[in-house]
Amino acid sequence: MALSSEQLERYSRHIILKEVGLRGQKKLLNAKVLIIGAGGLGSPAAMYLAAAGVGTIGIADADEVDLSNLQRQILHGNADVGKPKVDSAKETMAALNPDVQVITHHLFVNAENIMDLIEPYDFILDGTDNFAAKFLINDACVLAGKPFCHAGIIRFHGQLMTYVPGKGPCYRCVFRQPPPKNAVPTCREAGVIGAMAGVIGCMQALEAVKYIVGVGDLLIGRLLTFDALDMEAHVIQLPDNPDCPVCGAHPTILQPFDEGVVECDLK
C-alpha cells in the first residue's frame, strides 16, 4: 500500500519520527482499534487516534449525549445533545480525517455481546465508567487474547495500565472483583476535572499507537497514576498474581459474565 501525496503530507509529522516512519504510519492505517465508551476518556482517545490515521476505529456506547457530558466529553458539542453518542463520535472523527473508517456499536457491552464485539479489533481501549464493564472487558480480553488499556479518572486523579496477553498481569490480578454498588465514589457523585479525562484518554491513545507501531515500553505490569493537584505522575510496579481467577495458573473464569453489582448509580 502506497500513501497518497495527501496522506504523506497529513502524516508528515509522524513519518519524520524515526520510531514511526512510513512503516509505522502504514501499520496505523491498517490497524483496528475499539473504544468502549464515547465519554470523557473515549473522546480524546478517539480524536487523536482518528487524527493519527488509525484505519478502523470502532466506538461502542449505548448512551445519548447529555448536557452534563459536555464539560469533558469533547467528541460531542452543544448541537449533539440528545443524539446517540456513537453517531456524534462518528461525525467528529469523520470530520477530522476521511482516511478513517468508523464503525459504530450502539450498545452496552455485556457478557452476551462482548466476545463478538472485540473479535475484529487489534487493540481495545476501556473508556467505561463502571466497574462491572471494566471487569467484563478485562475478562473478555484475557479470554480472547486481546491487548487492552484500562483507565479510570475521578476528581483530580487518573490511572491507567495496559494488558498484553502473556506479558503481564491483568486488571483482575490487581483489583480482584468490583466493589459493591456505591462503595467507592464515582465521578457522578465526586466530580472530575474535565482536562483529567483529556490527559488520561490521550495516554490511552498513546498506548494504542505504541502497541500498533511496536515502539517503546507499554504500561504492562505497571499502573500509572496521575495527580493533577500536585502535578505528579507515579508508576506502580504490579506483581504477578498466579491466583488470578481469569489469567492465573488455574483459572475459574472460563467465559465472560456480567458482574451482579453495578458501580454507577443512576439518579
Binding site: N130, I153, G158, V174, C187, I236, V262
Partner: protein, 73 residues
C-alpha cells in the same frame, strides 16, 4: 522509621500496621484499596495485623471508574 509510601519517603512510627498507615494517610474506603508491600500484593485480611518494617515500600491501588459517565449498565 522511614518507609516509602507511593514512592515518597515517609517517617512513621516503628511497627505501624498497614491499616494504621492507611488511616494516617487518610485513605478513603481502605477495604476497597489494593495494597502492595515491596512489590507483592497484601491479602486484604492482613491490613490490620501486617506491621511494616524500616525501608518497606507501600503502594495503594485505588478503584477508579470514571470515563464515559453514561446511564446504567
Amino acid at each position: 522509621m522511614m518507609i516509602q509510601v507511593s514512592g515518597k519517603k515517609t517517617e512513621v512510627e516503628n511497627g505501624i500496621t498497614v491499616m494504621q498507615l492507611m488511616e494516617q494517610q487518610k485513605v478513603e474506603t481502605p477495604q476497597y484499596v489494593t495494597v502492595a508491600v515491596n512489590n507483592a500484593f497484601l491479602p486484604m485480611d492482613c491490613y490490620e495485623c501486617f506491621s511494616l518494617k524500616e525501608g518497606d515500600a507501600v503502594e495503594f491501588l485505588y478503584f477508579m471508574g470514571g470515563g464515559c459517565d453514561g446511564a446504567e449498565q
